[in-house]
């Protein structure tokens, strides 16, 4: 388990490229939650991409180069936190392996590893957050994103906090731990397989009868929202941080227009 955090720890937010470009609301929700938990949040301007696309393509040189930039940008912080199990998993589980033969960067990657967290598990496991001050009137279901679940053990933490959101009822998604078919570049390299997987996922989501789908990773959310919307589904899609921070009213759901009815 995590060491006791310093008082008011200094947290570097790793925004992730998809949140930066597609959904800044999630970034602000993360800042909001971290500040409520007593953290001082900074957003290093030098950050771009964690390097996972290059790493998974087999391009170790580019991946290592991007990894070094992330390490350098975040070295001074008590913690690095990302609203994504996938990017946090890349930094935490793969940088050390990627740079293991580098006598300078290997140990630096290793040190960063122990200070890097996915947002919701950081709030619960490190900061000891037990409840959130937020409300949502409705039924939600939750998809466990693969890297967060299997690399970082993010499973109970989001459910625990969602359980404290006023008015919210959580209906479990059957096969919640099965991949949605995003897989980074997989979804465009093998679109037919990806489509089959996200079709299955969308059917299961719709069958829960929940009115909102939540998950902790923008990639999966874009994929599932894109499929649900293409199917004409009315299920709304949001990042779990938006509901936990109580900012779900401030932006339209993912893949929906900002115009409000009535």
């Amino acid at each position: 388990m995590a060491d006791t955090p310093p008082a008011q720890p200094r947290v570097g937010l790793f925004v992730t490229c998809l949140v930066d470009i597609f959904r800044p609301t999630v970034g602000f929700a993360a800042v909001n939650l971290l500040e409520k938990a007593g953290c001082r949040v900074e957003v290093p301007r030098a950050q771009t991409c964690c390097g996972q696309p290059a790493y998974n393509l087999g391009d170790r040189a580019d991946a290592a180069d991007l990894a070094k930039r992330v390490i350098a940008a975040f070295e001074g912080f008590d913690y690095v936190v990302a609203p994504s199990g996938s990017c946090a998993g890349m930094i935490k589980e793969h940088y050390a392996e990627l740079l293991k033969d580098d006598p300078d960067w290997g140990p630096r990657a290793h040190r960063l590893r122990h200070r890097t967290w996915e947002l919701v598990s950081f709030l619960v496991d490190v900061m000891g957050m037990e409840r959130v001050e937020a409300a949502y009137q409705g039924t939600v279901t939750y998809h466990d994103s693969c890297s967060g679940l299997r690399e970082l053990g993010v499973r109970e933490q989001p459910r625990r906090l969602l359980g404290t959101v006023g008015g919210l009822s959580l209906r479990e998604l059957p096969d919640a731990e099965v991949c949605c078919g995003f897989g980074g570049t997989f979804c465009v390299k093998y679109p037919e397989i990806s489509n089959r997987m996200v079709e299955d996922k969308a059917e299961k989501i719709e069958a829960t009868g929940a009115d909102m789908l939540l998950a902790g990773d923008m990639g999966c959310l874009l994929n599932m929202a894109g499929k649900l919307k293409r199917r004409g589904s009315r299920v709304q899609v949001r990042h779990v941080a938006e509901v936990l921070a109580g900012v779900a009213g401030e932006a339209a759901p993912i893949g929906e227009a900002a115009v409000r009815k009535g």
Binding site: D65, C179, G181, E192, I193
Partner: protein, 479 residues
């Protein structure tokens, strides 16, 4: 067997349109996963057993020469023969020679993935023998002249209607009006056909789940009992095994056996676990007169000492494919060679070359479910990534991906330019998709938008908004 792994995408396209296959895959997923989960919930020490199993195999792989030589000497002491075969061709020829020397006509066969790997049936037929598969699933696919689609459930892609069709077509001597609607009718018919073959067989070929170095025994696990009849009734028993199947002791085999059936079918143990040590001894009530072990390398020793060595821990339980969402979508034949699913995605490039099987390690989302259920804790996604690294280094990665991600990496190394570019992209896409909140078509993104909408960005990047927020906070402070 001829590989069609290079045509993986075409295979996938076909498989996704095959309604019978899709129905069969839907059923398979539910059965295997639930059975495994329940079996493991009943065994609290399962995780510790996984560690033990891994340690046994790792130890063997570090001392493979020692244990194989010990195994050989024990087999010889028991009156058997060991044939070391470097390649599939050597193994095929060795087995054909044993059959010729035995004056064989009918050759019964237990289920063996290594036999599929070396395509022994085709070879034996060419040499004038009649090979008969005796595992029900293998028998069915032999009649259909197709490869297995799963390593423990070779006919899992078929429905009982498919099986009935195959039986009507093959068993011409039987009444064409007979009913083959009930599964029991299919089973009795197969049993009757196979009984004749068991009695006629001159040579029986089985695989091996384990080779035991301390005793020279070979072990098979089956659920139908066909393996026992295959190896005890004919005059000659040939065990065909790849060399990483060796374990030091009986105790080690029993440790791994506790993992195997639970991971595979959710059984605590298979119905039959059969040990063979040498030919029939004086006073034995049954057993073969000759006992041969054909030990196959076929590229495995070349994996030792490489980043793929851990793959040789595999005990062929099939849990990885039973939990793989890609396998569940397309089935085993799409992978185009003998070993499908995640274990195939790592092993196939090792055995037939990454240039022929390059798609397989790429067709994964790295969801990690395979590794999470692997009883031997084989890091399958990591090894698939290693194959991608080899493809990248050898220039086999498709140019669009190399250039696309190469450009992304170039861009991501320049934060100033990156923040400008992302701001422009978010602004443009945000405006294009503002009305509906999503885009139904996007140039150069057909891989995405042919199948699903692209949610539109909110319009401004987080970095842009964060900078503004900081700026206004600073002004506030200055006031």
């Amino acid at each position: 067997m001829e590989s069609t792994s290079h045509a993986f995408k075409d295979n996938v396209h076909e498989a996704l349109r095959d309604e019978r296959l899709q129905r069969a895959l839907g059923k398979m997923k539910v059965g295997f996963q639930g059975n495994r989960r329940r079996a493991i919930e009943r065994l609290p020490e399962f995780e510790a057993l996984r560690d033990e199993g891994r340690a046994i195999k790792d130890h063997v792989l570090e001392h493979l020469d020692f244990y194989l030589e010990r195994f050989e000497s024990r087999v010889v002491e028991a009156g058997g023969h060991v044939h070391w075969c470097r390649t599939a061709a050597e193994a095929r020829e060795t087995i054909a020679r044993i059959c010729r020397d035995a004056g064989a006509r009918t050759v019964t066969k237990g289920k063996s993935m290594v036999a599929e790997e070396i395509a022994i049936n085709d070879h034996l037929e060419r040499e004038g023998f009649e090979p008969i598969e005796t595992d029900l699933g293998e028998y069915i696919i032999q009649l259909r002249r197709e490869p297995p689609s799963h390593i423990i459930a070779p006919a899992v892609h078929l429905s009982k209607e498919d099986v009935a069709e195959a039986f009507y077509a093959a068993h011409r001597d039987l009444d064409p009006e007979r009913s083959l609607v009930e599964p029991t009718a299919l089973i009795s018919e197969a049993r009757a056909m196979l009984r004749q073959k068991f009695q006629q067989a001159d040579v029986g070929i089985t695989g091996a789940n384990f080779l035991i170095a301390e005793t020279g025994s070979t072990v098979i696990v089956t659920n139908e009992g066909n393996g026992d009849l295959t190896q005890t009734l004919p005059r000659v028993h040939v065990v065909l095994a790849s060399l990483e199947k060796v374990v030091p002791t009986l105790e080690d085999a029993s440790t791994i056996l506790r993992l195997l059936a639970r991971s595979a079918t959710g059984q605590e143990f298979s119905a039959y676990t059969t040990f063979s040590t040498g030919p029939r001894r004086p006073g034995d009530p049954d057993g073969p007169q000759e006992f041969h072990v054909v030990l196959l390398d076929n590229g495995r020793t070349a994996m030792l000492g490489t980043e793929f060595q851990e793959m040789l821990r595999c005990i062929r339980c099939g849990a990885c494919m039973n939990h793989c969402p890609v396998y569940a979508s397309v089935g085993g034949h799409a992978y185009g060679w003998v070993y499908p699913g995640p274990m195939g995605a790592v092993l196939t490039p090792s055995l037939i070359g990454v240039d022929a099987a390059g798609h397989l390690p790429n067709a994964s989302t790295f969801c990690g479910r395979c590794e999470s259920v692997c009883p031997m804790r084989i890091p399958l996604p990591k090894m698939m990534r290693h194959w991608r690294e080899k493809e990248y280094a050898a220039g086999l990665t498709p140019a669009t991906q190399r250039w696309g991600l190469g450009f992304w990496a170039w861009f991501a190394r320049r934060p100033g330019l990156y923040h400008l570019g992302t701001r422009l992209a978010a602004g443009l896409l945000g405006r294009l998709g503002r009305r509906q909140g999503r885009l139904r078509r996007l140039p150069l993104a057909g891989g995405w938008t042919d199948w699903r909408d692209m949610p539109a960005p909110e319009g401004r990047t987080f970095q842009q908004l964060w900078a503004e927020r900081r700026e206004s906070a600073r002004r506030e402070d200055a006031r």
